[in-house]
Amino acid sequence: MEIKVTVDTKGLSCPMPMMKLAKAVKGVNSGDYIEMLGTDPGTKSDLPKWCDKTGNVLVEQTDEPDGVFRFIIQKK
């Protein structure tokens, strides 16, 4: 799995993480993987809902040290 783009939203609060992710997704091709790093707890519920709605796939979600969440999203 090759990560095409990493979107670093550490420290950012809602709505900036989802805005940055949406912009990054627009800039890659279908099937590409995007890594997102964030610290806003709201993203944990916003992102799966957004993936359900848009058809993009949330491939992986892990908790990293210091309260950082890591998501891997595949563009539909």
Partner: protein, 404 residues
């Protein structure tokens, strides 16, 4: 299910409360019920009054701007309510191991400060914020609150357009080194749970002391503030999300949740007003006019518009700012700072100017039942909520106004 880890009865409850965020509608209904109880105790929920009290006390320390006679924070129910919302959220964030000091890039801190300052101007000019002007004002059947709500919508739309413009043309504002400190993972950071229980005891002790000192109203506001902070953090209860998301992701959950909360508040407030519950020696008319201010129509509209811009740029409304502070979002600390510092200045210098400039017909008290009767006023509010609900759900399905 032999592989599943067994949990006890209280373990199951703990998981229910803290493993995942609650649906927004659960939080909004609970917050609505507390708002009704606050009205029964004294007066409906207001968000901006707490920031105003914090600010006046700040200037009082420096003997500046003539706020020497401002009541001490500990003697002001709004100041204590706001402090307890922060603490209640802190407790919830700790017990769910969601707490971390989240430091954004510098540009975001500036946006927080500016957003807070705009919210202060909007709340003082419009006589109400996302809570007092909207979540309490609309169910209180205030015509001015409806105008303020329209202003909130318009301000939000303008600010959402700005945020997208900023992403394209000034991406550096939200880019840079963001950091997170003291965060926990599933295996690490159990100190958060321990501190959470300690803070829970602190909240209880503060409330107990007010009751013991013969100040039950502030005591109840302390208790309710703690619950509001706790509920808001767990359910991501935030008015700005309800207004903003239809124009961003298209998600309608926030709007549906807040509408459910407003319905609860509407029901409770009408019962209290028509039955004259909890008035003590107050006149029924004074009870009816709670949260009905001289902001109909342009004054409420203008204030709501400025507040809507501020809350969208800050990323948190009056209550969203408070509970995100407790969660460790440093941007919202700056938002609260801007709100707190500008609120007394706006009250003292901007509001008198607005009052002079606007004719009486644009800033008077409009109590809807005076014109429509209670059935008509309640029907109007229900109609507005129905239109909002339809728009949010229709937009979620069609994506007509959403951007991503």
């Amino acid at each position: 299910m032999s592989g599943e880890k067994k949990t006890g009865v209280f373990g199951e409850l703990y998981r229910l409360l803290f493993a995942k965020n609650w649906p927004v509608w659960v939080g909004a209904i609970l917050a609505g019920m507390i708002n009704v109880m606050m009205f029964a105790v004294a007066t409906p929920w207001s968000g901006s009054a707490g920031y105003g009290s914090w600010g006046k006390n700040f200037y009082k320390v420096f003997n500046a701007l003539g706020f020497d006679s401002a009541a001490a924070l500990t003697d002001n129910k709004w100041a204590m309510l706001s402090i307890m919302i922060v603490l209640g959220s802190f407790v919830a964030a700790l017990l769910s191991k969601n707490f971390a000091i989240r430091i954004p890039p510098v540009g975001e801190l500036f946006k927080g400060l500016l957003g807070g300052a705009l919210m202060a101007v909007g709340a003082t000019v419009g006589i109400g914020c996302s809570i007092g002007g909207f979540f309490s004002g609309v169910p209180a059947l205030s015509g001015g609150a409806i105008m303020l709500t329209i202003g909130l919508f318009l301000g939000t739309i303008v600010a959402v357009k700005y945020l997208f413009w900023e992403m394209e043309h000034l991406p550096g504002i939200s880019t840079g080194r963001g950091r997170s400190l003291l965060g926990a993972t599933e295996d690490k950071g159990n100190w958060q749970k321990v501190l959470g229980f300690i803070m829970l005891v602190v909240v209880a002790v503060v409330a107990y002391n007010y009751f013991k000192a013969g100040q039950p109203v502030i005591g109840w506001f302390v208790v309710m503030g703690g619950f509001l902070g706790f509920i808001s953090q767990r359910s991501i209860f935030c008015i700005v999300r309800a207004f903003r998301e239809p124009f961003m992701s298209g998600d309608a959950d926030g709007a549906k949740g807040i509408i459910a909360g407003i319905l609860v508040v509407l029901f409770g407030f009408v019962v209290i007003k028509t039955m004259n519950i909890g008035t003590g020696e107050a006149l029924m008319r004074a009870r009816e006019m709670k949260m009905v201010h001289n902001n109909f129509w342009l004054r409420g509209l203008l204030g709501g518009f400025v507040f809507g811009i501020g809350m969208t740029i800050a990323g948190g409304c009056a209550v969203g700012t408070l509970w995100r502070m407790g969660e460790g979002q440093v941007k919202l600390w700056f938002s609260a700072l801007g709100f707190m510092l500008v609120s007394p200045i706006s009250s003292k210098f901007v509001v008198p100017w607005v009052e002079d400039v606007l004719p009486f017909q644009m800033q008077f008290k409009n109590y809807l039942p005076d014109y429509l009767g209670y059935p008509g006023a309640v029907g109007l509010v229900l109609l507005i909520l129905a239109v909002w609900y339809w728009f949010a759900v229709w937009n979620e399905r069609t994506g007509k106004f959403s951007q991503f």
